[in-house]
Structure formats: C-alpha cells, structure tokens
C-alpha cells in the first residue's frame, strides 16, 4: 500500500488540485473555499512526502497509465523538481489560508478558487514534466490561469495589466514552441533524458535553444523584458501577487535551468551563459533602482521581484565551468528561488493586509505601522531580511553560495554584483521599514478604513512565510541535501 502511494505521488500531486478545481467552481459560494482548503491540506503533505521519498530513494520516474516514452507521458522528479513542488505547496497552503479571510464570501471573487487550484496543479505538472513538449503545455496552462487571476478584480488597471501580461505570455510561449519544434525536428525527441545524449550545438540546436531561451526569458521577466511584470504583480489582488511573484516566474525559470544545465551543456554554447549573467546583473541593479523610486508599496515589492530574479540568472555563468563552484552555484541559485518564494509571498500578503485595512499602500502613509499593525510590520520586516540576504535567512545562504561560486570559479565580479545587490535591497527595504517606527502616524489616521486589528489568519500566514525564510538560513541543510539529489552531471560536484 505504502509502496503504491509512493509510486503514484507525482500523479497525485497533479490530480488533486486539478480535480478540486472544477469542484470549487461547481459547488460555488460557500463550498469553494472548503474545497480549496481540503485540496491544499492534501497537496502539502503529498509534496513533503515526495521530497522525503526523493531524498531517501533518489529520483522518481512515473509513466502515466503505464505508457512510457516515447509514446506515453512520463513524469520525473529529481531533487530540483521535488524542491519546487515542495515550496509551491508551502506557499500554496498559506496563501489558501490567507485567502479564506481575504476574499471572504464576495461573489465577484468566486473565480479565485478554481483558477488558483488550476494554477497550482499546472505548476506541479510543470515541475514534474519529463519532456520539453509537456513543459510547453504546462507553461501555457500556468500562463492562462495566471493571466485570468491578474484580471480577477476587474479593476481597470488590473485588466490593462492582465492584457499586457497575456500578450507577453503568448509571445513567450510561441518562441518556446518554435524552439521545441526545431529540437524535435533535429534530434528526434522531446524527452529530456534522450535529448541530453543527442543534442548538438549545430545550427538547429543553437537556434532552437536561442528561441526557447528568448521565450522563457520573456516569461521570467528578466531585464530588459520585465516591462509586463510590475503592473501585473502590483495590480493583482494580493494573494494573487504573492503566487505570481513567488511561484509563477519560477516556473519558466525552472525550464530554463533544465534546458541549460541539464539538457544542453553550457560549454557547447560559449558566451550565452555570460549574456544571461550580465542580464541578470542588470536586472539586479535596474530593479533595485526602480524599487527605490516607487511611491506605492506593492509597486516597490514588484520591482524587488525584478531585481531578485536577476540573482537566479547568475547560476548560468557560475555553473558553466563545472566542478565544486558549479555545485555551489546550483545550490545557491535554487536556494535563492526557494527563499525568495517564501519571503516575497510574505511581503505581498503583508501588503495586502495594509491595503485591506488602510485602503491604500502609499509609502508616505505607512508611518508608525509597527504600532498600528505590529505583526504585519514584523512579517514584512523579517521577509526583508531574506530580501537583503542578511543572516540568518535563506537569502543569506543563497548569496553565500553564489559568492563562494564566484570566487571559487575565478569570476569574482559576480560576487561584487551579489554584495552590491544586497546593499541596494537594504536601501529600498529600509525605505519601507524605517518609517514603520516613526512617531508621526497621522497619515494612517486620515483614513476611516481601519477595521483593524489585522485578522489573525492573514497575519499568521504572512508571518509564517517570513519565518520560514528565516528558518531556512539556520536549518537549511535538509533542503540543500534535497536540491543535490539527482543533480545534473555538470553541477553534481566532486564527491569527496
């Protein structure tokens, strides 16, 4: 019995949310929230179970209906997949708990629950896909549900942002699909394990990889293709913003890593990984500088996402040389994705509480927040520690690994970027956190909209996510072990 469940884990992780989604829609008001909570409460332990299985027994492969490739659909979970599924389940569960109170019984938000469950299932499917065509399908499912979620509030700015997001997403998918077609034509397979052996850096290989990368970079909102992200992430309802910034951008990043580190060998495509690293560095600087100039909290947090995405792309140049440095970069990059997911969702959830209570999120009006909403302010501040990369936090472990990889591989300039990026992050975080302690809190009082105190479940969800990001910085070793399970040869490091 136990064995059977273990084998079905990847499929169950996709099936549970996908099954719950239509139920949430059909049952409608009153039961949709319960359905979502039930699905979340089932999916989270499944994800934890999968992570445990992968750590203990190594990577898992699963053929749907018993049909293996090249005909059937296969699912695969190595450490990287299991990590992403796990972080999705943690963020997902807490966002669901938060949403119960945030959306309440409001009729106009009833589409949130089916869409969100659908998005969750699609993300799990994406992280567990074993071939690049399935990845395309999942990418589309993720994008479509994400776009719909942005437009959920039906406010004018949200709809405009959603439309812009949709155009970028469609364009990205199109590029990606063209690349997949080229690969299939040239190498005769879409299965990643097969492609790993057959892919060659010839014209078709290079063009295919370039097309897929372009599409994915657009979807991940890497500078300078980030234009769609700040309006979409800041104008969405706050739980949606949290999911988008924490998880959805990581979906396309996940595929990029699979393609570059696992399938194609970076040294076969010289220069490309450096270009990605330079764009990442530019994103760190540009996103941070823009964050410094924002007047609204959610815009600032959204630009912070633009900056933090930049760190992920340092993985490519740092891992390209192989050896111990590549292994450090692998852990650092994925650890960053995880801790950013936790901290950034905490920030958006906290911003959502501020918006709900005070009716606005103008920075100049947030004076004295640590007195008016102490737990909310604490959650935001603690998440900021991870964002700055200061210890003890997951962000620190990530940056530590990235700096180590930079110096270890002789590319010290990336270390300068990492340290400078941390200081820039501190500058924009303290722009927000500093005034929390101000005594003049009149700005907050001018609004009648303070039903305060903040709801316990909402505060609790934000604080739990922020604390999770901190705990990673102290007790992150199990996660590091998980990330290294079945790591691609390039980054598997030298085992002593």
């Amino acid at each position: 019995m136990g064995d059977w469940v273990t084998q079905q884990l990847p499929a169950l992780l996709i099936l549970v949310p996908f099954t719950a989604a239509p139920f949430a829609y059909l049952l409608g008001a009153g039961y949709d929230r319960q359905t979502a909570l039930l699905s979340a409460a089932l999916t989270q332990p499944l994800a934890a179970f999968l992570a445990l299985t992968v750590v203990q027994e190594g990577p898992v492969r699963y053929a749907i209906g018993g049909w293996g490739g090249p005909l059937g659909i296969e699912l695969a979970a190595d450490g990287f997949s299991a990590t992403m599924v796990l972080v999705t389940s943690v963020v997902g569960l807490l966002v669901t708990v938060y949403g119960l109170r945030y959306f309440g019984d409001l009729e106009r938000y009833r589409f949130f629950w089916p869409l969100w469950l659908f998005l969750w299932g699609s993300l799990n499917a994406l992280f567990l896909s074993a071939d690049i065509f399935n990845l395309y399908v999942c990418l589309e499912l993720v994008s479509m549900s994400a776009v719909a979620l942005v437009g959920l509030t039906l406010r004018r700015e949200a709809l405009v942002a959603a439309m812009r997001y949709m155009l970028a997403a469609i364009l990205g998918s199109l590029f990606y699909l063209l690349g997949v077609a080229l690969f299939y034509g040239a190498f005769g397979s879409v299965d990643m394990a097969t492609l790993r052996e057959t892919v060659r850096p010839d014209v078709a290989g290079q063009a295919g990889l370039a097309l897929m990368t372009a599409g994915l970079v657009l979807k991940t909102a890497l500078f300078p293709l980030h234009f769609w992200l700040p309006p979409a992430h800041s104008n969405a309802a706050s739980p949606v913003s949290a999911v988008l910034s924490a998880l959805v951008v990581k979906g396309s990043f996940f595929i990029l890593v699979r393609l570059w580190i696992d399938v194609a060998q970076p040294e076969a495509f010289p220069g490309a990984s450096v270009v990605l690293g330079v764009l990442g560095s530019s994103a760190i600087v540009w996103g941070s500088v823009q964050a410094l100039r924002q007047e609204r909290l959610k815009m600032l947090v959204a630009y912070s996402t633009v900056a933090q995405i930049g760190y992920l792309f340092l993985l490519f140049p740092l891992a390209s040389g192989g050896g111990q440095a590549a292994s450090d970069a692998w852990v650092g990059g994925i650890f960053h994705a995880v801790s950013h997911a936790l901290a950034k969702s905490a920030m958006f959830l906290a911003a959502g509480i501020v918006l709900a209570r005070f009716g606005h999120d103008r920075l100049e009006g947030l004076g004295g927040l640590s007195r008016r909403a102490p737990v909310t302010a604490m959650a935001f501040g603690l998440a900021g520690v991870t964002m700055m990369g200061l210890p003890p936090s997951g962000g620190f472990i990530a940056k530590w690994q990235l700096i180590k990889a930079s110096i270890g591989s002789g590319q010290w300039w990336w270390a300068v970027v990492v340290v400078a990026g941390g200081l820039l992050a501190a500058a924009y975080m303290f722009r927000v956190v500093g005034p929390f302690f101000a005594r003049e809190a009149e700005d907050l009082d001018d609004s009648d909209l303070d039903p305060g105190p903040s709801p316990v479940t909402m505060d609790g969800a934000a604080l739990a996510l922020a604390l999770g990001a901190l705990v990673l910085g102290v007790a992150g070793q199990p996660l590091i072990d998980l990330i290294m399970v079945g790591a691609p040869a390039l980054v598997a490091g030298v085992t002593p």
């Binding site: 620190f396 340290v419 400078a420 302690f437």
Partner: protein, 500 residues
C-alpha cells in the same frame, strides 16, 4: 547532551526565547512582560556562568561544543575562555540593565517592541561570544546589526530616524565587506575555526600573501565599524539619540564590543602569528593608536554628555584593539581585561546620563553645576567610573592601562607609551570638568537643598543599578589579582601569568 552543551545552548536560546515571549505578550500585559524579561535575563546569567565554568575547567584546546550542520562548515557554539569573558560581561550587565530599563522606560511607549529587540541584541552578542567558527560569528554579528536598528530609532522622531539611517549606512556596507572576507577566507583555507594561537595554515602566508592581506582588510572593515575604529566611527555619536539603556548596554558594551571581540578572534585565533608576519597587525595597532587620540580630542569639544561619552567610547574601544594587535601576551591581557573593565565603567556613566536626564532634565555638561548636591549617589558613581577610565588606581581602568603599558615595553613598541600618556591626560581633561562642576560649582537654587525630602534622589530602579555597576568597576580593579577577576581571566586567555 552534556551539561556544558546544554549551558551553551541555553545561553544563546534564553535571550531569543525571552524576545519571543515579550513580543507574544504585547504592549498591554506589562507585569507579565517584565517578569518574563527578568526571568529570561536571570536564566541567561546562570547559563553564561555555567559556560564560564565549563571553559575554566576544560583542558586546553578541548572545549565543550554543540552545533548543527550547514554548508560543510556548520553552525557551532563552544565554551572557551575568551568567549566566556565576553558572554559573562554581556549576560550579567543585561540583567542589571533590565532593572534599569524598566525604571527608565516606565513612561515610554512601545515597550514590548523595545524590550523584545533588546533581548535579541543580547542573544546575538552572547552568540557572537560563544561562536565556534567564523560563519556562526558572522550570522550572529549581522543579526545584531539588524536588531539594533529598531532600538536606535525607537523614539520615532525625525532625529532618531536620521540616526538610524546613519547607523545603517555604516553597518550594512561593513556587513557586505565582512561577508566577502569570510567567504573568501573559507574558500582559501577551508572552514575557519577559532583556535588559540591561530587556525590558518602558516604555509598560506607564503602562497597567498596578497589575498590574506586583502581578506584581513575586508574583515577589519567589517568589524571596525562596530569597534568604532577611525575612520568608520561616525555612526556611534549619531546613534546616541537612542534611549539611555540602549546607549548603556549596546553602545558601550554589547554592540561595540562585538566588533572589538571579533577583531580579537580574527587577530588572535584565526591569523595568529601570520598577522605580524604579513605586517597587518602593526598597521591595525597604528590605526588603533590614532583612534585613541582622535576620539579623546573629539570628546573634549562635546557639551552634550552622551556625545562626550560616545567619543570617549570610540577612544577606549581602541585600547582593546591596540592591546590585541600588539604582539605581546601582556598587552593582549591588558586589552582583553579592558573589555570587561571599560564595560562596567562606561555603562555606569551612561546609566548616570540617563538617570540625570530623567530626574532633573539635564543633558549638557554645562548644566551639571552642583548636581552632586541633588543626586549625590548617582554623581559619586559617575565620578568613580570617570576616575577608572582616566586610569586612577585602584579603579579598574588602571589595571588594564598598566598591563597595556608593560605589554608595549615587552613588544618594544615605545610609541604606545606616549599614546597611553597623552590619552590619559586627555581623558582627565574631558572628565574632570564634569566632576568639578558636579561637586564644586554652586548649584542651581532648587538643587541646593539636596533631593526632595523623604524621597530618594531618583527612581531607585535606576540609581541602584548604576551604583552596582560602579562598585563592580571598583572591585575589578581592587581585586585584579584574584583568581577569577577579569584581569586574571584575560591573562589566562593570553597565556601569561600575572606577576602578582
């Protein structure tokens, strides 16, 4: 787990647990909060004393340790003599400061936030003291950086927010430099543990001299900000906008000495003999010598008492750095003894500044005329501490300065004697006028009759702690030769027996 391991964990966990309890109780439940705070501080004192006992009774090089795995390096705590010295100083003074702070903050707002972050700061300082390796040290060090910020800006006034900003402008880039140095050193030399006599392989000095010098500079930049070394001392006077308990415990003891203590760890227990060989400790000593004179001269010109004390701290911290940087066990003993001696004396003076400000609203030295009549016990404690800082025997400061002087002769660095002499004259020049005003100038009319009849001279929760710390300072000097005095303890750390 052995009792030593439990004590180590408890010493670090207790303050953090106290913080969680305080935050959870919130602003309204004041009595419960104070109780949690005092119990937490008392447990911490017991734990750090147990750590000190463990360190004292351990065989050389075999310290009790606990830890968890992370990043091939691991987080770990250990109970060694050097760490126990700082941990005991921070833990004991925290208990005293908690009593003082409940008096000082009795009319303030946001006390839950204040005491919560205060506990986190102390927990970080004790973590710094008991860290087993450079990574653990760094983690606690940066936690301290962040946890101090809410305390600096506590009053929430524009001036406080400005002070906080200045503090961050120094502390955060320093953290970046420290991070780079720590990572680089770990890559070059493997996991950097603290070990008496230095943990770096001597062969590295031949193979990577430039890298080692650059790493040393990065580490000193990172640690020097908290140690208030010239030219990165500027945040300390600006941070004096913080409430008095913060200035007393954090900006005279826990935070600033975390920097100095880090310098001691790096110079003595990481670089060891490589420091003089590469020529970096000589430079550090010169910088510390300059900072001593510079801080003292700047202190002369301050009328605001807390600012004067802050510049005095800048100078006094460099005594410790100087002692550590001189290649003589006697000087090292003097510097490390000063870590405890200065703590007791300077905390007394900041306590006084706060008590005087609360009781008679006097903030400037020029307002102190005849204050000895109004607050005799308070000013007596202050005067005793001031004499100690100047180096008048038998108060504690004399013992450390004397050891430093002997150490300088031992190391053959005669210029240090000149620095010590000039500095003592300057110390006298900025402290004696305060003593003179308090006791020998004609008091204001309302002070002439002494304290209000039938009432103590101030809130006893403030007066008693400052008298206790001043007596501690006196005792440390009087009994410098006793087995467990800070001076003997520091000598044992430095591997040198006291000559008396």
């Amino acid at each position: 787990m052995s009792w030593e391991g439990a004590a180590l964990l408890m010493a670090v966990v207790a303050p953090f647990a106290t913080a969680v309890g305080i935050f959870a109780l919130g602003e309204a439940r004041e009595r419960a909060r104070s109780a949690v705070n005092l119990i937490g501080a008392a447990v911490t004192v017991v734990a750090v004393l147990a750590c000190a006992t463990a360190a004292w009774s351990a065989e050389p090089g075999r310290h009790a340790a606990v830890g968890i795995d992370l990043l091939d390096i691991g987080f770990g705590l250990k109970a060694d003599m050097l760490g126990a010295l700082f941990a005991v100083v921070a833990g004991v003074l925290w208990l005293i400061t908690t009593v003082y702070a409940t008096g000082y903050m009795s009319h303030a707002s946001d006390r839950a936030r204040f005491f919560g972050f205060f506990s986190i700061c102390v927990g970080s300082a004790i973590g710094i003291a008991l860290s087993k390796n450079l990574l653990t040290f760094f983690v606690f060090y940066e936690t301290l950086t962040l946890a101090t910020y809410p305390l600096v800006v506590h009053s929430g006034t524009p001036a406080a927010l400005r002070g906080g900003r200045t503090y961050l402008m120094y502390a955060l880039p320093a953290g970046g430099a420290l991070a780079a140095g720590v990572v680089w050193l770990n890559l070059l030399a493997g996991p950097v543990e603290f070990a008496a006599g230095g943990s770096l392989d001597p062969a590295l000095a031949a193979s990577h001299p430039t890298a080692l010098v650059v790493i040393f500079a990065l580490l000193m930049l990172g640690l020097g900000v908290k140690a208030a070394l010239f030219p990165v001392h500027g945040w300390l006077p600006a941070a004096m906008v913080a409430p008095a308990p913060v200035s007393s415990l954090l900006h005279a003891v826990a935070v600033v000495k975390a920097g100095v203590f880090g310098i001691a760890r790096v110079v003595l227990e990481v670089y060891g003999p490589l420091g003089p060989e590469l020529g970096v400790t000589q430079l550090l000593a010169a910088l510390a010598g300059f900072t001593i004179i510079f801080g003292s001269v700047r202190a002369l010109a301050q009328d605001d008492l807390k600012k004067r004390l802050a510049f005095s701290t800048v100078a006094q911290l460099s005594y410790i750095t100087l002692g550590v940087a001189l290649a003589s066990p006697i000087a090292i003993a003097g510097g490390l003894a000063h870590l405890a001696h200065h703590a007791a004396m300077k905390i007394t003076m900041f306590f006084t500044a706060g008590a005087v400000a609360e009781e008679v609203k006097a903030y400037r030295v020029s307002e102190f005329d005849g204050l000895g009549r109004r607050m005799p016990l308070t000013m007596a404690a202050f005067s005793l501490a001031a004499l100690g800082i100047v180096g008048v025997p038998p108060v504690a400061g004399f013992a450390s300065k004397w050891l430093l002087g002997v150490g300088a002769v031992d190391a053959g660095t005669w210029w240090v004697i000149a620095v010590l002499g000039v500095s003592s004259v300057l110390n006298a020049a900025y402290f004696f006028p305060i003593i003179h005003r308090a006791w020998f100038r004609e008091p204001k009319a309302e002070w002439a009759g002494g304290p209000p009849t039938g009432q103590p001279e101030g809130d006893l929760r403030m007066v008693v702690p400052l008298v206790v710390t001043s007596l501690l300072g006196l005792a440390m000097g009087l009994m410098a030769g006793a087995d467990l005095s800070p001076a003997s303890w520091a000598s044992a750390v430095a591997g040198w027996g006291l000559p008396w």
